[in-house]
């Protein structure tokens, strides 16, 4: 296909051609970045939790009037829940993966270091590892004799009495690797305050933080042997079979209500719901981006159809003359297709530069990573395809122009 006549025609419609190129370039740039953003969101929503999510339930209850021993209260509730048919395991935890509300501590490796090493989340509660279904990869799980009541620990912290504080902890593999790269973490000490040293006795494969807003620190997790009393912010975590979840949740609530009709259930949900809620804004954003991409491609396609139709109508006589001089229908069809390809290619080239610029802007304002090179061809292919599809109709109409047009109105 000879490209020179196309270029000389375009030179006569410089302004219109440039507008089309600009539109394609803008669309290409936005689509590249939008697809990249969608990828980021999907990746985030896929963040592993390290727990048996499809088998877990969360229940939070609150007393209207506090009475009795809150620690005994929890033990009674746990006993009640264990009796519910279908319940495999129960734990009482201060927080849950992706639950948003979290307890965190500053980790020091040397009690005298001036700055913290990092910030890690701290899970408390008995029986957490088997109930949540997180895997121990080294060392041992926490034992009943490791556990200390929270009230005792807080008093000890205040009085400087280290005997009444917990002494051991579990950490995730990611945290171990971050604190002591390539070394055995078992037996090492982590300081949460200058006086509280916890010895690492076990390493977990994975356990995500409740506040996993940043993928880099999402696995900075410790499990500390502290026992809590009944409190509104704490959660009963129940493990059951995936198909039994709805039934077990209802039965557990009924059992808890029966044990004390006076209390109020504030949270009752499966862990699938916990995850869905935590990532709801990411899902909404991804949806919006898909919408924007679709709308952009449609508008651009319609714009190409409109302009191409105009050009075809404008050049009816020229086309007729070419047909009369021996050009085949395929020649005419290819002419318009090539013209569109040339415009799209120019637009895409400009769009790549723009896409890079937009990415730079987003990087400085929204802490996004650099746009990987693989996303550039995505935008290019999308625009070439859209261009060819859009121009097909007008091009076919052009090819259908009979040679006899050349003889009219001359």
């Amino acid at each position: 296909m000879d490209i020179l006549p196309i270029l000389s025609t375009l030179r006569r419609h410089k302004l219109t051609a440039w507008l089309l190129i600009l539109e394609i370039a803008l669309t290409c740039a936005i689509v590249c970045n939008a697809v990249f953003l969608i990828g980021q969101r999907l990746q985030r929503m896929d963040m592993p939790s390290g727990v048996a999510e499809h088998e877990l339930l969360q229940i939070q209850v609150a007393d209207v009037v506090k009475n009795g021993n809150p620690y005994a209260r929890v033990q009674e509730d746990l006993a009640v829940l264990r009796q519910v048919p279908g319940v495999q395991s129960v734990a009482f935890s201060n927080q849950v993966p992706f639950g948003a509300s979290s307890s965190n501590g500053n980790v020091l490796l040397d009690p005298n270091q001036p700055q913290r090493t990092l910030n890690a989340t701290t899970y408390f509660g008995e029986n957490l590892v088997p109930t949540m279904g997180t895997r121990l990869v080294a060392g041992r799980d926490l034992r009943p004799d490791d556990f200390v009541d929270v009230d005792t620990a807080l008093k000890g912290l205040r009085n400087g009495d280290s005997k009444s504080l917990p002494h051991v902890t579990l950490i995730t593999r990611t945290l171990a690797e971050r604190l002591w790269p390539g070394q055995n973490p078992l037996g090492r000490l982590i300081y949460l305050t200058p006086t509280v040293g916890l010895r690492v006795v076990g390493v977990l494969a994975s356990l995500v933080r409740p506040n996993a807003y940043d993928a880099a620190t999402a696995q900075y997790t410790m499990v500390i042997p502290l026992r809590m009393g009944a409190d509104k912010g704490m959660s009963y975590v129940i493990r059951t079979l995936p198909q039994d979840r709805a039934r077990v949740l209802a039965a557990s609530l009924a059992a808890l209500k029966k044990a004390d009709p006076q209390r109020v259930v504030t949270t009752q949900r499966t862990f699938d719901e916990v995850r869905r809620r935590f990532f709801r804004d990411d899902r909404a954003m991804a949806g919006m981006l898909v919408g924007v991409i679709a709308a952009l491609l449609i508008v651009t396609a319609l714009g190409i159809v409109g302009l191409a139709s105009f050009w075809v109508a404008q050049r009816r006589r020229t086309i007729g003359v070419r047909r009369a001089l021996g050009a085949t229908r395929a020649n005419i069809l290819h002419y318009f297709q090539t013209e569109n390809f040339v415009l799209a290619t120019l637009g895409i080239a400009l769009g790549m530069v723009l896409a890079y610029g937009i990415n730079l802007f987003l990087m400085t304002h929204y802490e996004l990573p650099r746009l990987p090179a693989v996303y550039f061809p995505v935008g290019a292919v999308a625009l070439w395809l859209i261009g060819q599809l859009a121009v097909l109709g007008p091009a076919l109409r052009a090819a259908a122009v009979p040679p006899v047009v050349a003889t009219r109105s001359v």
């Binding site: 302004l15 219109t16 507008l19 089309l20 600009l22 539109e23 803008l26 669309t27 936005i30 953003l37 609150a62 007393d63 209207v64 009037v65 506090k66 809150p70 307890s103 001036p114 700055q115 913290r116 929270v150 009230d151 620990a153 807080l154 912290l157 205040r158 400087g160 305050t193 200058p194 006086t195 009393g229 409190d231 509104k232 912010g233 006076q262 109020v264 504030t266 809620r277 709801r280 804004d281 909404a284 954003m285 919006m288 981006l289 924007v292 709308a295 952009l296 508008v299 651009t300 319609l302 714009g303 409109g306 302009l307 105009f310 109508a313 404008q314 937009i358 987003l362 304002h365 929204y366």
Partner: protein, 435 residues
């Protein structure tokens, strides 16, 4: 003349319906998308206390130990109980209130209602006059009630509706967490957005239903919500235990009627910090901040990044739609070169042609703006279906409605400028020849 141009424009638009529809659709889509996101941004970055926010300040001091200190580091975002009480009792501002949030169980006397939890604000007397809360019945409590740990409560209109069917409940008693409180006031609708005075509870669409004195809450060991940050051997406290002395967990707001007073108050905070350091309580050099409401919201980056990003995206989309319209109009105007040539030859000036073409693009802009408004309403409805905290706030207000129309009209007129100018450059003689 305008009527004639309008007639010409309508004729021309009718002649090529598909193209007109395409241009209107592109404008409507672009305007609809950008107005939806702009409205959400507008709602979320609004002033929660119009007319007052400039006089309300959030003082910060730095009681932390020397560990982790570096120059220009921000002080903690909240106060310790000791500092809060000291600053409250110093009474150096026109008004001041110390506060934190929580949940309390309501035990309705009516047997038909089960006990339920509501969000609570534990605060001090000046909260109500300082923030200008509207009262439906009664009033707030006074400073003496604070010190007396009075069992007084102010309830929201919503709770009053639920418990008393909207009747004046001032003077009646309310059982909460096993204690009897006396209702002293009922607030009218009041829900500042963003929830500026405590951003830890969620920034939007959060409204407390009961307000009671802070000292009463501490006396009764009521449940507390929000963020607690500790250092040294500090412990966050659970259940009935308050956070320790080395923890920050309270918000403190002051009203300072003019900038002079604000400067003096900042100086007071520095002196206070120096005194505390001399006493041995503080270890760091005075590190104070005094931001007003809007500065505080800005400092905390309250508007979600996603919302800003969506606004950028939508405006990018609008630009594409406009470029698209410019291209189509250009093609259309040039196609009518011969008609324009005839008009020129018959004596129409360039300005007249230009005006005629701009009227045509203006018509497209108006219709597109109307479509865009409908689409924006649909878009906002879609936003409201989301589960984000702020979703329910997404409504089009009159000022945004006007903005929509102006934006649509300006955008299309701007889009019409280039094609109209280009079309006016046509030499009439050349066009007439080809007729």
């Amino acid at each position: 003349m305008f009527a004639y141009y309008l007639d010409l424009a309508l004729r021309s638009l009718k002649r090529n319906k598909a193209l007109t529809a395409l241009m209107v659709l592109a404008i409507a889509l672009g305007i609809g998308a950008s107005m939806t996101t702009l409205t959400v941004l507008h709602v979320l970055s609004g002033d929660p206390l119009p007319g007052r926010s400039g006089e309300i300040y959030y003082p910060q001091v730095d009681p932390q130990d020397i560990r982790g200190m570096y120059p220009s580091k921000e002080p903690p975002k909240q106060l310790t109980l000791i500092d809060g009480m000291n600053l409250l009792h110093a009474k150096r501002a026109d008004r001041q209130a110390l506060m934190t949030g929580g949940d309390v169980p309501i035990q309705p006397q009516q047997s038909a209602l089960d006990p339920f939890y509501v969000e609570a604000r534990y605060t001090t007397a000046d909260f109500f006059p300082m923030f200008g809360t509207p009262f439906l019945y009664g009033h707030g409590w006074n400073a003496a009630d604070d010190e007396a740990k009075a069992r007084d409560v102010v309830i929201s209109r919503k709770l009053n509706q639920k418990l008393y069917g909207g009747a004046n409940s001032v003077g009646r008693t309310l059982r909460m967490a096993g204690t009897t409180f006396q209702i002293v006031g009922v607030l009218d609708r009041w829900q500042p957005n963003p929830h500026f005075y405590d951003l830890n509870t969620g920034s939007y669409a959060y409204g407390e239903q009961v307000f009671l004195p802070l000292q009463t809450m501490m006396d009764l060991h009521l449940d507390r919500n929000g963020s607690t940050d500790c250092w040294g051997n500090g412990g966050g406290g659970t259940g009935t235990i308050l956070p320790s002395a080395t923890c920050v967990w309270l918000q403190f707001w002051v009203q300072l009627d003019n900038p002079l007073k604000a400067a003096a108050y900042k100086q007071f905070l520095v002196h206070y910090s120096e005194d505390q350091k001399a006493l041995g309580r503080y270890q760091r050099a005075p590190n104070v901040r005094l931001r007003n409401v809007m500065q505080w919201l800005d400092h905390n980056g309250v508007v979600p990044d996603d919302v800003r990003l969506q606004t950028w995206l939508a405006f990018g989309f609008l630009v594409v739609c406009l470029v698209n319209t410019v291209g189509l109009m250009l093609a259309k105007f040039l196609r009518r070169a011969s008609e324009l040539g005839v008009r020129r030859a018959l004596g129409a000036s360039r300005q007249a042609l230009f005006a005629q073409l701009l009227v045509e693009s203006g018509v497209i802009g108006l219709v597109g703006g109307l479509g865009g408004m409908l689409l924006a309403m649909f878009g906002l409805w879609l936003v409201r279906q989301r589960s984000s905290d702020y979703a329910a706030l997404a409504h089009l207000d009159p000022s945004m409605l006007l903005t929509t129309f102006l934006l649509a009209l300006c955008a299309t007129l701007l889009a019409g400028l280039l094609p109209a100018w280009r079309a006016c450059q046509i030499t009439p003689a050349l066009q007439l020849k080809t007729l």
